[in-house]
Amino acid sequence: MDYALLAEQFFNGFQLGIILFLVAAGLTLVFGIMDLVNLAHGTLYMFGAFFAATFSMVTGSMFLGMLFALPVTLVAGMLMEWSLLRTLYQRNHLDQVQVTFGLIIFFNELFLIAWGPEGAAIQLPDYLQGTTPLFGDVVVPDYRLVIITSGLLVALGLYFLVSKTRIGMLIRAGASNREMVAALGVNIKMLYTVVFGLGAALAGFAGMIITPITQAESGMGEGILILAFVVIVIGGIGSIRGAFIAAIITGLIDTLGRSFIDVAMLAVMDTEGAETAGPAISSMLIYIIMAVVLAVKPQGLFPPKGA
Amino acid sequence: MTEAILKVDNLVKSFGGLVATDHFNLEVEQGEIHAIIGPNGAGKTTLINQISGMMKSDGGSITFDGRDITHMSAPSRCHTGLVRSFQITSILKNFRVIDNVALAIQARQGHSFRFWKAAQKDQELQGAAQAVLEEIGLGERGNVLAGNLAHGEQRRLEIAMALATSPKFLLLDEPMAGMDSQASEDMTTYLRTLKGKYTMLLIEHDMDAVFALADRITVLVYGRAIASGSPDEIRNNAEVRSAYLGDD
């Protein structure tokens, strides 16, 4: 048993889970509270990445770049909601799907033109390029620890916001009974804009912290978006707790699954077969899990009460 | 003594901590009109949902026409002859009135995996649907889009769809809902004509209608049957008066 590989893959999986959670949390809130299918959520992830890359280049500092990009992404999200998306709340899901699909097409093209096919990169500062030893031979890249830690801090902050503050109470109430919250005289429009902005900020944050590793490019949002869908289907629409648990599980299964299936396949078939079957099965694994969860619990693992 | 066609035995349904149906018992005799009354929040809709099969119970049993239907799906219950109508009008709004009824009739004609012949040109089906419409006074309205009917007409279509399934037992959830007094009277008169042909379990708030139609009445309060008997017995029952009718 190669512990170094196992540990490395574990951290990779956990990191993926954190990123997925950040993206899924906003998505599930917007679904749960506004009943809005927002395919353009991945676009907000892309906004964060590109804005951070540009600001980092301009200021010469990754940290400052992200610091400036975050509020810009938040505002961009709220603008999107205010100008277009709020007309969709009354519309059926098909209309929502198509309009947000139109947004994706538009922005992917816009960013492709603005930054070119190579996209944009963020240079990791020297002090974050090292590794930290854990145990035995195992080392963890420092930046990966930064991603995981900051992601967990945000998750904690979100938990605090949702369970201990007044606005969090409104959010939870809205997730389980939208009409009731409106009937209670709460300024629904503003609540919706705030929730959307929060989701945009979370997605943007995920996009920017992953960029030093992967790069900002047009179309980067959709891959993570679809996995985020799987996460909230497994976790239950409207549930942040569900999103967190499902995201971590999904990240771990997807990453560890890929390594182990390759190994397992080699044990049972020849190299050529394994090289085909391995990646094939790994790429399907998380969807198979989703299907199994749905077969048993069609509303996800943690549907909010009253759903 | 006539055998009860519908027997509800110790039915239980809870939502989290709230017990909506609390060991509810009921026996409805063949051919009778039985009314369930009770204050708002007593659990009438939950009860109907369980009897019709739209909601699973947590305990107890339901027997219909000698068969245990507790675990049967709603479509299957409909095929045994137990059909319901809805309090909030639940017709197919973008179909024509006659299509609504035709679909209900079609459901009783075996499976519908027939892909070729046009249903709207099937003379037998359309003729049978027209006949049902005539009976309920919507004979002239067959070609109108169901969503364009007046409220009272929609309520009648609501009943017509249930009747078109050739049932033995009608589970009527507030058939008079939202009707003015004239329309309610008409509906009451109509329902009385159905007596004997069908057994009816009626949930209603309209007390005039209830006392005019019912052979027996059960009073539902907090998920329990607190009294059951003839209209006179219920009218004079002290517990019922204080819980529901109000002392007068």
Binding site: T87, H93, L94, V97, Q98, V99, F101, G102, L103, I105, F106, E109, I113, E222, I226, F229, V233, I237, T276, P279, A280, S282, S283, M284, Y287, I288, M290, A291, L294, A295, P298 | M54, S73, A74, P75, C78, V83, S90, L92, K93, N94, F95, D99, A102, L103, A104, Q106, A107, R108, S112, F113, R114, F115, W116, K117, A118, A119, D122, M161, T165
Partner: protein, 322 residues
Amino acid sequence: MGKILSLMKTPRGIYNTILVLLCLSMPFLAPAIEQDFYRDVMLRAIIFAIATISLNLIMGYGGMISFGHAVYLGVGGYAVGILSYHGIESGWIQWSVGIIGSGLLALLFGAICLRTKGVYFIMITLAFAQMIYFLSVSIEKYGSDDGLNIDTRSNFGIEAFDLNDPMTMYYTAFVLLMACLYFSHRIVNSRFGMVIRGSMSNDDRMGSIGYPTYPYKLAAFVIAGMMAGLSGILSANFESFVSPDMMFWTTSGEMIFMAVLGGLGTIFGPLGGTMIFLILSEMLSNITEAWHLIFGPFLIVVVLFARGGVEGIIGKFEKRND
């Protein structure tokens, strides 16, 4: 015949007739105006319209918003591609495998997805389609991302019927399109179709009057899958090429838009929508490479303001003239 002629008197009837006549005559029209490639554009539209018709069956008449319908295109296409790669060129075998294969996959996916509703259904159909996309990308042997070239078109062993002849290819697709239109018309008006349409209108009520709607919806899903598989088979033949892109979620998204643009829940809507979409995108992409900048907002405007699509707009003329 008299009925068909009377149908042509309405504005929509005239519009639909024009669509069909355009498809029918393009192989002769195109060379006449010295734009041979219009024939290819039209053939592409005809082939894709078959897929859009199948999506309209479940989405426009059944209310099942499948965001993964393009996956069945891929099954049909790859059936042709993979069998051809292994030397099996018989159209009988390729086409049977393609259609039955897409039907089986639709049965599997539908059985799971139809247990969910609304937003869940949309997302799950999307997820499953992506799963198959990733699966095909991961199999290096059949070309992965780059796709798979197909050497010859399906061979049916009939001398007079050679798909390699452009006219035969074109009119085979055209005849199949007409057949799918007609089949679509019969199925939505049949008893089966009424159940599907009823379930879209009010699924709970359908249950209460005695219809277990799940098996009917599943059957519709399978039929639509097979029809889309046929479209994929034709596409593989015409383009002599298949790639995972056929199954990418954006293809499904475009298919949904074509159905909506044309007019959901109408027989000819999908044909008109597909033709308009493909011709427009062809024209726009010749003007500028960044045509998506125009297309995105166009999609948004159509969805927000043109309810009922083109058939809906033309239908409004009928009402005004009455």
